[in-house]
């Protein structure tokens, strides 16, 4: 069978369409939110939250409930919690994230070991599996990524001002605390949308990689976010297709593809002085 025929065949399956729709939704929202998080030096929040998502999935599996049902409130709550810890300065932000990630991982692992018989299920949640994406996940992904996009469009100017210079944003009466809380909530939501297609342990990569790659290009703020979305879309769609053809886990394929793009861009820019 030619490559083209295989390509056409991929789209004859309903699960492939569902995976692509979820993938595109995750790609857009994670790249958008990720650009702000990386520039605000909050990139590791995504990493910490993905561990919380793992614990939430474990809880869901133990109680035989839909993991996403547990994940959403738990991850969103943790996101706001870490942001607050960061602000009070009683605990260093990165230390707080480290504590949260380790605690959540320990809790999740303990729950998994007591549960015993759901290892295959768990594997698909850890690294993403396009076969497990249901119709409800598709609606969920479209709905929430719509919220993320609407938020960024509505508050783009305020978000830019506060990301560049928080003090200045405050004196121009921008409600920085409220926007930070919104950003934290939507980060949590983005992590949860990505659990099915990318997996809890790798979703944080999709928050960090596209933004970091886009930053290698010498663009302004709008341009950087646009590029970040484009890179995210390309790696997610190509990664999903590759994972279908090669029978790899979708999450790891997407992250490897992101890593490849990053190294190519970074090396050509720094070794061969290519100006993008």
């Amino acid at each position: 069978m030619s490559l083209f025929e295989q390509f056409i065949r991929a789209f004859q399956y309903g699960f492939m369409w569902r995976a692509l729709i979820v993938g595109v939704s995750v790609a857009i929202s994670s790249a958008t939110i990720g650009s702000f998080l990386v520039l605000k030096k909050y990139a590791m929040i995504g990493h910490g939250l993905s561990h919380v998502a793992f614990a939430a999935v474990a809880i869901g599996l133990v109680f035989n409930q839909a993991p996403l049902f547990f994940s959403l409130p738990l991850v969103v709550f943790s996101s706001i919690f870490v942001l607050r810890l960061n602000k009070t300065a009683k605990l260093h932000g990165d230390a707080a994230i480290g504590l949260m990630a380790a605690f959540a991982m320990a809790l999740g692992t303990t729950l998994v070991s007591t549960g015993g018989g759901f290892n295959v299920d768990l594997y698909s949640y850890l690294f993403g599996s396009i076969l497990t994406i249901r119709q409800i996940d598709v609606y969920f992904a479209i709905g929430f990524s719509g919220v993320v996009i609407a938020f960024v469009l509505l508050y783009y100017n305020q978000l830019f001002s506060m990301t560049f210079d928080e003090s200045f944003a405050r004196i121009t009466d921008i409600e920085v605390n409220r926007l930070n809380t919104m950003l934290a909530i939507l980060t949590g939501v983005t992590i949860v949308i990505g659990i099915r297609a990318i997996g809890t342990l790798l979703i944080s990569a999709l928050i960090i990689f596209p933004a970091v790659i886009a930053l290698q290009f010498n663009r302004g703020f709008k341009g950087t976010i646009g590029l970040s979305i484009a890179i995210s879309l390309f790696t997610v769609v190509a990664g999903l297709l590759l994972s279908f053809f090669l029978d790899f886990p979708s999450g790891s394929t997407i992250v490897l593809l992101n890593s490849l793009v990053f190294f190519v861009v970074y090396l050509t820019r720094n070794l061969f002085k290519v100006q993008y």
Binding site: L39, Y155, S161, D165, F168, A169, R170, I174, G220, F221
Partner: protein, 246 residues
């Protein structure tokens, strides 16, 4: 003076960081047209005072009153430039002074763009509009950040050590720019600096801070009454006046 003549009143404020007191019972008014230099050694509370006036800190006692909707512009010490690779163009940075009420779908309109480009022209950075802010020289960056505040059409501009990172030539140019904004645009200025000599020919008022407000008056008076402040001995004027007798 009547209250309505004042822009800002600092009413007996005390500010603490945990248990350390940064400012004690500071009280003064800012009047339209003032060019105030706030001087003091490191840790004397200069930046804390600026942040208190800007409402960026919790004030433990007293209060700061902005009279009649006073609009304040601010040039912080490192304004977003700790990250030299921050992906923002000069135009984007300057436009952030106008962004507060510009929610989707109300983006910048033509009038806004005109204001921004007028300001870029005034500060001689028009040709740099599409360049990344981090790629500019120190002097150009300061002018871009000044333009960001100026598009807000502020009544008063607060600057925290704005000339620190500048070379001698840019420093002089920047101070001239401030002076002309002060005289021609009637912009009130409050500038924090550790170098009192640099503001001699610009400021009409010196506030000398050492957690308390030790002095509030003209530069001449400052030289006379504060001869032992850590600045004056490095200043030539002091030697003119006191050199022969000491």
């Amino acid at each position: 003076m009547m209250d309505h003549d004042k822009l800002i009143t600092v009413e007996d404020i005390t500010v603490k960081y945990d248990r350390i007191t940064a400012l004690k019972h500071i009280q003064f008014d800012i009047f339209p047209g003032d060019f105030i230099a706030v001087v003091g050694v490191n840790g004397s509370g200069k930046t804390t005072l600026a942040k208190s006036i800007l409402n960026l800190l919790r004030i433990h006692e007293g209060r700061v009153v902005w009279h009649n909707g006073t609009k304040i512009g601010y040039l912080p010490q490192h304004a977003g430039l700790e990250d030299r690779h921050f992906p923002a163009t000069v135009f984007e940075v300057v436009s952030s002074g106008l962004l507060k009420d510009k929610a989707f779908p109300k983006w910048l309109n033509k009038a806004d763009r005109n204001i921004i480009f007028d300001m870029l022209r005034l500060f001689d950075i028009e040709t740099l509009a599409d360049k990344r802010i981090g790629s500019l020289s120190g002097g150009q960056q300061q002018r871009a950040l000044l333009a960001r505040s100026m598009v807000m059409n502020p009544d008063i501009l607060i600057l925290d050590e704005p000339t620190n990172a500048l070379d001698q030539e840019s420093r002089g140019r920047f101070m001239q720019l401030l002076k002309s904004l002060n005289l021609e645009n009637k912009l009130t200025i409050m500038m924090i600096t550790h170098d009192v000599a640099s503001v001699e020919s610009y400021a009409n008022r010196i506030l000398y801070l050492e957690k308390h407000l030790l002095f509030d008056g003209s530069f001449e008076k400052f030289c006379e009454t504060q001869p032992f402040s850590p600045y004056i001995h490095t200043h030539p004027k002091r030697f003119d006046k006191k050199g022969e007798t000491s």
